[in-house]
Amino acid sequence: MTHPSLGSFRRVLAARGEQGDRPYGTPGTGGPSCSPREILRRLRGAVPGCPLLSHPEELRPYECDGLTAYRQIPLAVAIPESVAQVQEILRVCRTLRVPVIPRGAGTGLSGGALPNRSGLVLSMTRFRKILAVDPLNRTARVEPGVTNRAISEATSPFGLFYAPDPSSEVACTIGGNIAENAGGLHCLKYGLTVHNVLSVKILTAEGEWLVLGSEAYDAAGFDLLALLIGSEGLLGVVVEATVRLLPRPPLARLIVAAFPSVESASTAVGKLIGEGFAPAGLEMMDNLAIRAAEAFVHAGYPVEAAALLLCEFDGGPEEVDDQIELAEKRLRESGADFLRSSSSEEERLLLWKGRKSAFPAAGRMAPDYYCMDGTIPRRSLPEALLRIARLSEEFRLPVANVFHAGDGNLHPLILYDASHPHELQQAERLGRRILELCVELGGVITGEHGVGVEKLGSMCLQFRAPELAQFHRIKEAFDPDGILNPGKAVPLLHRCAELGAMHVHQGALPFPEIERY
């Protein structure tokens, strides 16, 4: 991550002011019913032992998440350590109509944890306990502030691991993963967060304690767990989770294959998947990303290659060696002119290192970068990359591509310099065009980073008014007062109308009778 320096941050704010761009997401409380001082007094009274930050210097670290272009100082930050404290905080905030913004590690890339000026940031980082590991049931019960990596570390003595592995795994929390339905390098085989969580305990905005899912593989009634996972902190505060663990495969091996063209690499992806290979991960990097990564970590990538595929297999040694041999053959047939397969764990980790440090490596090529997250059907990979290259020329901003090729999840990194006037807006415009392209190709605007505040506008491309209205009704069923994370994830209907981005059929807005609030 590049965190723009303070200087560049001021420029960013200035740029935003010019643009006059305010997010208009999920409706909120309409604002607190009393003064900031009174709110702080009431909160201190309700949770006396709980740290409550309210000085500007203390609040500064919370002003943004991993999407640093959006910043806002909150009214206060509470850092509770017990569920009872969270419950009290929610009660006070509901009574006083103070927005509550749950926050994990703040690594989110769509502004999901962006504070609200008159709201409270509810930091869950003190909920750091792994409550139980159950090797026979293959589950771990954890508090929401536990980091993703910590779960696999705690369970590895049992030969088990927690499969979703976002690149931010050392820092991001399971609460944040649940809120975003985080993916990872190996979700091609092991699925996303939604496939690996059995149950969560939440507090609703009303302070009610609910268990969604169960310790078994399903629960009676509606699949509320599926609804909560990926709900970006809008439906409830996660206070505990039971995650599913898998036996750690005895062996993993990685193939790095270089291709003379993006097309041949994309064809190889389709071929591997279509022929029944089940790689644990299948990643792709384009030339700009390869060069940046190689200069940064010297993983031994061929810097002349137009595209690189990283293809990992894991499982029993017989199975893995079989697959590697066959995959190497297919990759060669698809035009790979360089192949290297790991023959030791050190080699595998070195070969991954370039891919894993692609973001910081990109960060060294330009003062700032903006990471996009659209998904497309795999067959459209060559077209998508070609058209992104054209857009990059049109906007005169370099774009490096490093992404989850196996599931068509693109991560174009738009390189820019926020100190140049208008470059941030240019980058954002380019980003929106890329998301438009994803939708046009039959894909979606976000594969794993969420909508947050960043993609509110792009949501209007993907959904029509009736679906957006249904999303708002779901929010109301959980949080009638709009306390939790208002302004995020789902655009107001009038916002879409303003943007003119709503699907307009034959010159008429769909469902004109629906109120555009």
């Binding site: 029993g316 679906e467 779901i474």
Partner: protein, 354 residues
């Protein structure tokens, strides 16, 4: 029933709008193979089986989209022609089973603990809500976090939240080799043995215990399956397909025993016994158990709840799900109302007043 592919979206939407206007409850009917999974619904019959047809399927994309009335058998056939399958191995309970009914009931077969449940493979849906409005959620791509995950949420709701029009599923290549191992195992040690095996990195794809013997299915590459089979031991079962089919379709002799059938969904390591007499049939490597017998439902519900799971009585027309805690029930009602404000879609199929 005509076998033509046809798009009945407009007609169905019209029916629902009329029912909405007049407040008439609708009883949704696909292939009519699964009435025993829920309570009987009093309402006007709305047949959905003629809204059928496979719309998109590209084997290299591993995604299939079909109208909800499409027969499940047609989908199985098409996938098999490309060496692919639905990895959640859904039961059909009859030749006329439809895709829509399968997903509405959230049905998964023996592979579920290892490959995932029906809802895990649902990528997107087009549905009619209780106002007769056509809504589209999700998509045809594997990764998608835009908006709430309504497609998975409505899976398993048995038509009480919306009527499926189209469903997009993730499909997979069929594993090239499978083998089923079998050995004698006492009920007392079966659960622990199953859990131990499932905690090892074997290529398992099904594991059950019929009260006397333990059955283990391995799937994957030839070398991988062979290596695991050698390590685990046991005998090779002849005609494994027939056996797993009988487990999946609930035609195994166990299901013919007298008494109503209970489904116990519990953490896999839950130790027997179940209250009441008789040995359960253990599937899903411990996580799904079938039990036959008469018992006060509250006793089994309490047993399942205290172990972190839930129990369902499956009895034609009178099926009973585990009762919901009051706070959860009221959330269910609010969500139901948000999709179906007049309560006309399969009212009472899951719970009273839902």
């Amino acid at each position: 029933m005509s076998l033509q592919d046809q798009d009945l979206t407009d007609a169905l939407a019209g029916e629902v709008r009329r029912a909405y206007d007049s407040g008439t409850p609708l009883s949704l009917v696909g292939g009519e193979t699964k009435p025993f999974l829920g309570r009987s619904v009093t309402g006007r019959r709305l047949p959905l089986g003629e809204h059928r047809g496979i719309l998109r399927y590209e084997p290299t994309e591993l995604v299939l989209t079909a109208r909800a009335g499409t027969p499940l058998s047609q989908i199985h056939g098409l996938l098999a022609s490309q060496d692919q399958w639905l990895p959640f191995e859904p039961p059909s309970f009859g030749a006329s089973a439809t895709l829509g009914g399968t997903i509405a009931c959230g049905l998964s077969g023996p592979a579920r603990p290892f490959t995932g449940a029906a809802r895990d493979f649902v990528l997107g849906v087009r549905l009619l809500d209780g106002r007769g409005e056509v809504l589209r959620f999700g998509g045809e791509v594997i990764k998608n976090v835009a908006g709430y995950d309504v497609s998975r949420f409505v899976t398993g709701a048995q038509g009480t939240l919306g009527i499926f029009l189209e469903i997009s599923l993730k499909v997979s290549p069929r594993p090239p080799t499978s083998a089923t191992l079998v050995w004698e195992e006492a009920p007392e040690t079966a659960v622990r043995r199953l859990c131990r095996l499932a905690a090892e990195p074997f290529p398992l794809s099904a594991a059950c215990h019929d009260g006397e013997r333990l059955f283990l299915r391995l799937s994957g590459s030839k070398a991988g399956v062979q290596a695991a089979a050698n390590r685990i031991g046991g005998e090779r079962l002849a005609e494994p397909e027939l056996f797993w089919q009988s487990v999946r379709e609930r035609t195994h002799p166990f299901f013919a025993r007298p008494g109503p059938l209970w489904r116990l969904s519990v953490p896999p390591a839950t130790q027997p016994p179940v209250p009441g007499a008789g040995t359960p049939f253990i599937d899903w490597a411990g996580a799904q158990r079938w039990w036959k017998g008469s018992i006060e439902p509250a006793a089994l519900w309490e047993w399942a709840r205290s172990r972190g799971g839930h129990a369902t009585l499956l009895d034609a027309g009178r099926s009973c799900l585990q009762p919901l805690e009051p706070a959860l029930l009221s959330l269910h009602r609010r969500l139901k109302a948000s999709f179906d404000p007049k309560g006309i879609l399969n009212p009472g199929r899951l719970y009273d007043q839902l």
